[in-house]
Point group: D2
Chain length 344, copies 4
C-alpha cells in the first residue's frame, strides 16, 4: 500500500535527523532557552524581514491553535472562522475547551473574505443586544486552507484592513504554509504575512520536521506572557532544543522552501493526470492536496493499492477524494499512481 | 409607550408579592434548605407525577442553561441545538465559557427533529475520526422555542427515543413553559415532559415570578452533586426561600397555568387582528409570542405607541416583528393595539 | 429558636419591600438599563465622590467574585488572597472553575498585608522560572473579612501602593461592607475605598436587600465589556430594575448606613456580655460578627434556644463560635441572648 | 560547564535515536494507531502484569497531568496533592486552567499519607457546608516526588485503600518513575503500581527518551474517551509512532530499568561524597536527585564549574541545592564533581 492519505506519514527530512543525531549528547538548557532555538528564531525573524517579531516553537497544530487563540481573547470573545476550519471541525472542541466560541462563516473553498468578516462583526456589534452575543475579536484563516486553496496578496491585505478597522486580531494557521508559499499561483511571502497578520505559524509537522510549529507574533499585545500560556497548556517542550534544531535546519539554507516545492510539483503531476482523464475537482487549487471527483468504482480500484481520503459523495455515482503529496513523497510512487489513473 | 417587546417588563404576580411581604421578617435557613423551598419542590414533584425527580431553583435562564449543561458533560462533549437556540445566539457564549461546543442543527421554526439528532450523532461517531470531533452527548430543545412554536407529544417521544438509543441526555429549556402548556394546540403536560426529558426547567421569570427557574431532573446520573455546580457557578441564592415562596405560590393552586392561559388568550386576539388585516406571519404558532410580517411603514406607525421587537427584514418593503403578551398584559393595552392594527 | 447564625435569615428592609410593591406593575426595559438602576448608579457614584466609576448590579457574592476576577485576568494569572478568604474556601472552586488559581497567603485574622503581597509577587516573578508559576495579577481582600476584622486607611493605602507598584489589581469584596463602615474603629469611607481599589462591591444581600451586590469599578481597564462577562456567567438579571430599586432605597437617604450601624451596635452589646462573663474571643473585632470562645457545655446550653455557628474546637474543653447580628436583628432577641449568657 | 541541574539536558539514548533513524522513511498511520505504538502498549501491559490496562502516549509531563486530571473530574471536583507537588507549583496553573482546584496537604518530604487524605476528605464532606467547598475526587502523588523520595509498598497500599474507601481516584505522576523503581530502598514494581493506582504514567522525557510519557489506566471509568481529551488538549501527536518507537525501545529489553539504575548508582556516589564531607541533606533519599545543604561559599565554588539548582537558604550561611544525575550522565563528570567536593 502506498500512502497518499496525508502529509505526515513519514518521520523527518534526513538533514533534520542528522542534526538531531549530531547534537544528541550535548547538554543544553531546557524549555527553548538554548542556542539552537535562538538561532532558529533569528533565521525566522530574518526571513520575515522584521526584527521585532516574537518567535516561539510548539509541538503540534491543535496545541498551537488553542494557545494562540486563548492567549488573545478575553472570556466573552470569540474567533471568526470558515465553517470548514480545522478549529471548528477537527480539534474536538479545543477552542471551546478554552472557553471561546468559534463563530463560523459559510465557505465553499475554505476561504473567507473581508466582506464576510465585516458583516459578521457588524451583526455582533448591533447595540444594545451586542452584549448578549459573543464578541468577535479574532479572525482565523488557514493558508493553505483545509481545501488546499490559498489567499492572494490582495485578499490578505483586505482581511488585514478590516481587522485593523474593527480592532480584530488576524491569525493565520500555516500548518501547510510551505506548500502554499511554493504553489504556482502564490503571491504571498513571509514578510507580507508577517506584515498583515498579528500572529501566524509556520508548520513543520507536515513540512519536513518530526514535529513542530513556529509561531510568529507581530502584534505587541499578543507577545506579552505568551510563554506562560504555552506552559499552562502543556505546550512548552522540556527539551526545547529539539524544536530549535529542526527549524534551524529548515530555514538555514532554504530547505523548507525546497521540499515544499517538491511536494507541490508532484501534486501538479497528479492533478494533470486526473484532469487529462477528464475528472473534475471538488476545488481548484495548486498546493499539495488534490481533490478529484471520481466515479465510485474508480475510487474502489485505486484504493486497492493507494491510501487516500474520502471527502464524501457528490452524487449517487461520484465521490470526492483527497490525495496528498509531501516533502517525503517519492517520485516513483507518484509515477505508479499516475499509471493507475491512466488505466482507469 | 405600551410595552409588548418581551414578557419580563413587570415585577411579579400580586399573590407572589403578597407572599413575599407576608413572610419577609421570618427567619429561615439559607441556600434553599428552607421549608418554603421544600413545599415548592413537593408541589412540582406532584404535578410531574414522579416522586423521584429532583427539583432545584435557580435565578435566571442563562444561569440555568449553563449549570445544567456543564453538570452533564465531560470536557470533550457538546450539546446539539437548533441554530436559533438561545444558548447558541443570545447567551454570550455561556456554554462555550464552560468549555462545551454548541453543535448546531438548521431550523426554520426553532424546532429540531429526532431525525436531525440521529444524523448529527452518526456523523460525529464516524470512526476513526470521531475523536477529532466534539462528541454529542446532550440535546437541547426549548419549549416554546425562540419562535414561539411547540413540540407535540409524538415529536417529544421521538426525541426521547433517539436520545435513549444513543445515550444522549434530553434537556428542555422551559423558560416560557407555561405559555407552551396552555397553548391551543398543545398536547404536552408536566408528567409527559418529566417522562421524556432527562432534565427540564419550568420558567418563572417570564411567567409571573420576580425571577426564578425550577429545574426538574429525572435522570439519576444528572442528580448527583447538582448543588455543588449551582454553587460553583454562582447560582445558589443565599436567601433561597425567595425562590421557594414564589414557586409555591405559582403551583399551590394552579396560578402558573391560569396566568399562562391569560397570556396565550391575549396573544390569540392579537394574532387574529393581524391575520384579519391580511398580514402573514414569520412562523405560525399559538403561544404568547406573535411574529407578524408588516409593511415597514406600518411597523413605523405602530412603534410610535407600542414597543416591540424587530426580527429583521424579510424583503425590501417588509419586516418581521415580535409582539409578546405575558401574565401581566392588560386587556386594555391589547385592545389599544388591536385598534391600532385595524387602523393601519 | 432565635437565629444568630448568619446575616441573611430574613427578607429585606420594609422600605425596600414597599418600593418593590409600589413599582411592581410598571413596565420597564430589562437587563439593568432601566431608570431605577440609573438612579441607583448615580447615587453610588455620588457617595464614592467619583463621577467616572462604573457601577453594575449583580445578584450574589460568589457570582460577583467570579465575574470580577475572570473579567480581570488572562488565563495564566491568579489572585492573591488570605487562606481564609471566601473565594478560597467557600465557593466550591468558583475561581478555579473560571480557570484561575487562588494564591493563598497565611492569615490569622482574615487580613493580608502589603508586605505579604510584595513578597508573594516577588517570589512568583523570580526569573527564569516565573513562567512555570501562576502570575499574580490581582489582590483580593474582603472588608470586613470572614473573621469580622477591618482594614484601616493606612493598611488599605499600603495595599494600594504595592498593587500599583507591581501592576496588580486591588479588589475588595464588600459583602458586609456596611457593617465595616459603621464599625466603631473604622477609618474607611466609600471615597477612600473607590480611590484605593481598582474594583470593589457594596453588599446588599447581607445588608437590607432581598439580594444584590453593587460593583464599583474605578480602573478603566476593568470597565471594558464588563456587562458581556456578567451575561456570559449568568449574572445579568432579566428584571434588572429589581436591583436598581433596592440599591436606590438603600442609598437615597442613608438607609444602608443606618441599618448597618444598628447591627454593629447590637453586636457590641453581645460582645460586652461575653466579655463581662470572662470569655475571650477567637479574634478581636467591632463589626456584626462575634467570635467568642466558650466552654463546650456552655455552647450546648445556648444552642438549645439560639442558632449560631461552630468555628471549631480551640482545645479539649473549648469551642469557638460565631454569632451574627444584622440589619434585621431585633433588640428583644439580643436581650434574650444576653440574659442567657449571663445565666451561664 | 558540566550540567547537573536537571535530568533532561541531553537528547535520547542512542538505541532510541537509531530506531528513529531506521524507521524514518516508513509510512504509517497517524495519531498513535500505528504498529510501533501497538507494540509499545503490549510491552507495557505485559510489564504491568495486566492485560486490561489502557496505555496512551503523550509528549510531556504538564500535558499529561492536565489531561489525566481533567478527564477524571467533574467541574466541582478537585485533586488532593502535596503543597510541593509539581501540579501545585510549577505548571502555571495548568490544573486550574482546566477548572479544577488543587487541594494542598502539607508535606516536608514531598510525600503525603493515607491519614492526610482521609482527614482532608472528611473535612470536605462535612455536611451541610460540603457543597460550598470543592469536592476532593482524586489524589495526586508523584513517585519519586519533587524531593526525590519514594513511596514504599505499604504506603501505596494504604493510599489505595483510603481512595477506594472514599471513591477517590489515585493518580501517580511517574515522570521519574525509573529512578524510583531502581532506587536502593525501592519496594515497588510496575504490577504493584498498576494494581494500586487508578492511573499512573511512566516518564520517558527524563529517562532516556527524546520526549514522552506513557499513561497506564487501570480504572475502567477513566478509560472511556481518553483519546478525545488527549486531542482536545493538544496532546495527540500527529506522528504518534515517534512515541511508540521510543517506548518500544525502552521496554523491549529492559533498557528503561538499566539506564535508570545507572543514574541512581551515580547519584549514590555523589551522595556519599557529600556525606563524607560532613554535609547534611535537605531530604534523605536514594533516587537520582541529591539535595545537600552547603555552606554558601562552597556552593559558590562549585557553581564555577558545575550547573545545579538552588533550593533556597536554610540559614544565614547555608543553602540547599539540587544535583541531578540521569541516564545520560557520564561517569567522568561525576568523578570531576566528586573531586571538587573533596577539595571544598
Amino acid at each position: 500500500m502506498i500512502y497518499f492519505n496525508c502529509d505526515y506519514n513519514e518521520g523527518a527530512h534526513e538533514k533534520i535527523m542528522e542534526a538531531l543525531m549530531r547534537t544528541n549528547m550535548e547538554q543544553s538548557i531546557g524549555y527553548g532557552m538554548d542556542s539552537y532555538s535562538e538561532e532558529a528564531k533569528r533565521l525566522i525573524r530574518k526571513l520575515c524581514g522584521k526584527d521585532d517579531v516574537d518567535v516561539h516553537f510548539l509541538v503540534g497544530g491543535t496545541q498551537t491553535n488553542l494557545i494562540v487563540i486563548t492567549s488573545a481573547l478575553r472570556p466573552h470573545q470569540g474567533v471568526l472562522a470558515a465553517n470548514t476550519a480545522h478549529i471548528n471541525v477537527h480539534e474536538t472542541g479545543a477552542i471551546e475547551g478554552c472557553g471561546h466560541k468559534v463563530l463560523t462563516l459559510p465557505s465553499e473553498d475554505g476561504k473567507i473574505t473581508a466582506e464576510q468578516v465585516e458583516q459578521a462583526f457588524l451583526e455582533h456589534k448591533n447595540e444594545p443586544t451586542a452584549e448578549h452575543m459573543v464578541q468577535p475579536k479574532m479572525v482565523y484563516i488557514s493558508n493553505p486552507t483545509e481545501l488546499g486553496t490559498i489567499y492572494d496578496r490582495d485578499e490578505l491585505k483586505k482581511l488585514h484592513d478590516v481587522c485593523k478597522k474593527y480592532h480584530l486580531f488576524l491569525f493565520m494557521d500555516g500548518a501547510r504554509l510551505g506548500y502554499g508559499l511554493q504553489a504556482k499561483e502564490n503571491t504571498l511571502d513571509l514578510p507580507c504575512i508577517a506584515e498583515n497578520c498579528d500572529v501566524f505559524y509556520i508548520g513543520g509537522t507536515k513540512v519536513g520536521a518530526l514535529f513542530g510549529e513556529a509561531v510568529v507574533i507581530s502584534n505587541d499585545y499578543l507577545k506579552e506572557d505568551f510563554r506562560y500560556i504555552m506552559k499552562q497548556k502543556g505546550g512548552m517542550l522540556a527539551k526545547g532544543r529539539l524544536l530549535g534544531i529542526q527549524f534551524a535546519e529548515l530555514f538555514r539554507d532554504g530547505l523548507y522552501f525546497e521540499i515544499s516545492a517538491h511536494a507541490d510539483r508532484l501534486a501538479e503531476l497528479l492533478r494533470t493526470a486526473f484532469r487529462e482523464k477528464g475528472y473534475t475537482f471538488l476545488v481548484e487549487n495548486t498546493t499539495n492536496q488534490i481533490f478529484p471527483i471520481l466515479p465510485i468504482e474508480h475510487a474502489e480500484i485505486l484504493e486497492k493499492k493507494f491510501l487516500f481520503e474520502n471527502q464524501g459523495k457528490v452524487d449517487e455515482s461520484h465521490i470526492a477524494v483527497r490525495f496528498c503529496t509531501s516533502w517525503a513523497t517519492k517520485e516513483e510512487n507518484v509515477d505508479q499512481l499516475i499509471d493507475a489513473i491512466r488505466q482507469l
